[in-house]
């Protein structure tokens, strides 16, 4: 780990465990002082007349987020490595479902797993019950895990961060989240004021109860719609990146030939035609692996250091197994027929007045043809172009004669 801060906590060493108790102590102390040892204070978040949960949580997230970004910019901490240690990888579906389920458990019990510990510490029996429930629930999940394993790993996106989705530096997203949080804090203060007033009124006059119900229904409807919109917004960019549609880049026969001559060690050529066709004639160095046998090569597990070139027949599609190769994948444009036409056919000698480009091209093709067909001698070089170059007038010798 680079940086000034050297984490003491990873692993189960004594220093790490002492640090754990000290940090936990601070966590529990602050939660209690924020009022999070009481279920009614926590549940109030969902009835909108006391949004302490939201305010505390978002202030904490913003504080730690900005602190981490600053520590990273100053070179005091390795943010990428820390982030991977702190946050789990993203699994879309179990996180969507688990979040919703946990939110339901939150409003039913009045606590979340962490705050139920603080409630227990404050002597609240309902907190003790919630702690017991969480332990029991985890065990129930442990029992059904074999059946739930497929869902538990569905929608896997690996380590994924909001700034990667947005394609901007982390500090830009951090500033955006900060701005959003500040805006939401002002909103939360307004909402609290409205719902506190309603509660005070409805306690006095029964006819206001109906009006309150209407307001509640409207508020919850709006919240539901907002949540659905946020979810769509959150899910869209994620699903857009689900299948990084990898395609093979076409490579022309002459470019492939040039690479084979220049740097054969950087290219692995696979001929996916029938074994017979491949055995008869192939690109030099190509391995004959019919498309159906590709899986046996384990391309998806290869290091991917070399580029991969796929030579096909008339069918120019590249098998999915080849696309799974981690490195760059090329497909020979035009298939083997294009190779045959280019490299295995003797080039025509250019006209004497052909340009320099055509002459260079001829030299290369002749060399390739000679090298690949084993011609004893290269095709004869073209006659030098007769270009009249006026000779410069002879200088008169100066100086002493």
């Amino acid at each position: 780990m680079n940086g000034f801060f050297f984490p003491l906590g990873i692993g189960a060493g004594e220093i790490g465990l002492v640090t754990a108790v000290l940090i936990g102590f601070g966590f529990g102390f602050v939660l209690e002082r924020a009022g999070f040892g009481r279920a009614d204070k926590l549940a109030a978040q969902f009835y909108l007349h006391d949004m302490t949960v939201f305010k505390v949580m978002f202030t904490a997230i913003v504080t730690a987020m900005l602190g981490l970004v600053v520590a990273g910019e100053l070179g005091l901490a390795n943010v990428a490595e820390l982030s991977r240690a702190i946050a789990s990888e993203t699994f879309l579906w179990p996180m969507l479902a688990g979040g919703f389920l946990l939110g339901m458990g939150f409003i039913i019990s009045g606590y979340c797993p962490g705050t139920s510990v603080v409630a227990t510490a404050s002597g609240h029996l309902d907190g003790v019950m919630t702690v017991a429930g969480v332990v029991a629930g985890s065990l129930i999940y442990g029992e059904i895990q074999p059946a739930a394993a497929a869902f538990h790993t569905s929608g896997a996106r690996g380590s994924l961060y909001l700034y990667e989705l947005a394609g901007v530096p982390a500090w830009v997203v951090a500033l955006a989240v900060t701005a959003m949080a500040i805006g939401l804090f002002f909103g939360a203060e307004k909402v609290e004021k409205i719902f506190r007033a309603k509660r005070a009124v409805s306690a006095e006059r029964p006819e206001d109860v109906r009006a309150e119900r209407r307001t509640m229904r409207r508020a919850f409807g709006t919240l539901g719609a907002a949540a659905a919109m946020m979810l769509t917004a959150a899910a869209l960019p994620v699903s857009a990146t689900t299948a990084p549609a990898k395609t093979a880049e076409p490579i022309a026969a002459h470019a492939l030939a040039a690479r084979l001559l220049d740097e054969p060690w950087n290219l692995r050529v696979l001929d996916v035609r029938d074994r017979e066709a491949c055995a008869e004639a192939r690109v030099p160095g190509a391995e004959c692996v019919p498309a159906d046998d590709l899986a046996g090569l384990g391309l998806r597990y290869a290091a991917g250091a070399r580029d991969l070139a796929i030579v096909g027949g008339e069918d120019e599609s590249v098998p999915a197994e080849a696309l799974a190769y981690p490195g760059k994948v090329y497909r020979l444009d035009g298939g083997f027929a294009a190779w045959k036409a280019y490299a295995l056919t003797a080039p025509e000698i250019p006209e004497a007045d052909a340009g320099a480009d055509a002459r260079e091209d001829y030299k290369l093709r002749a060399a390739i043809h000679a090298a690949l067909t084993g011609a004893a001698a290269a095709a004869p070089p073209p006659a030098p172009a007769q270009v009249y170059v006026p000779s410069a007038p002879k200088k008169k010798a100066g100086g002493c004669s």
Partner: protein, 168 residues
């Protein structure tokens, strides 16, 4: 313990919580958590009763490697101690059940237990709870953590109307 200290201003409490969270990141290289410790506690207890059953379940057997000698378990022990000290010094450490007038104690306790069971399942499914996923993962801007956090609020608001009598 007759006079209670008022709760902190939410924004100042948030600042303090953020400082603890940041310290946890930088000093321990670890996020704050809770449900992971409950899981370890449960599996360890079950292992004492039915070791063969735990050994047969790959998902649970993995916990046994260092059992309760785990960062999160000790952190949650600290949460409990910190909670006790904070509640005691604020004059709030007293046995009781937090509930509204419209619900019986038995019903409230049953709800607390049931909600806890739901959260235990949900936290395993989502690889963390409000502490580990929403707070810690949210602060490092993990995409999954933010999806999880939005869903927690969505789930809470979706059901709040139907359990409102608990708090009145």
């Amino acid at each position: 313990m007759t006079t209670q200290t008022k709760f902190w201003n939410p924004y100042l409490a948030g600042l303090a919580l953020g400082a603890v969270l940041l310290a946890s990141f930088l000093v321990a290289g670890h996020g704050l958590g809770a449900s992971g410790a409950s899981y370890r506690l449960g599996v360890t207890a079950l292992d004492a009763i039915a070791p063969a059953h735990v050994a047969a379940n790959e998902y649970m057997a993995g916990v046994k490697e260092h059992g309760l000698r785990d960062w999160l378990v000790f952190e949650v022990l600290g949460v409990f101690l910190g909670g006790v000290v904070a509640a005691y010094t604020a004059g709030r450490l007293r046995p009781g059940v937090i509930k509204g007038a419209g619900v019986s104690t038995g019903r409230r306790l049953a709800f607390a237990l049931g909600g806890g069971v739901l959260m235990g399942i949900a936290a395993r499914l989502a690889r963390g709870c409000t502490s580990g996923q929403a707070l810690s993962g949210g602060a490092v801007l993990s995409a999954g953590s933010w999806i999880f956090m939005l869903m927690v609020f969505a789930g809470g608001y979706a059901l709040a109307y139907f359990v409102r009598r608990q708090w009145r």
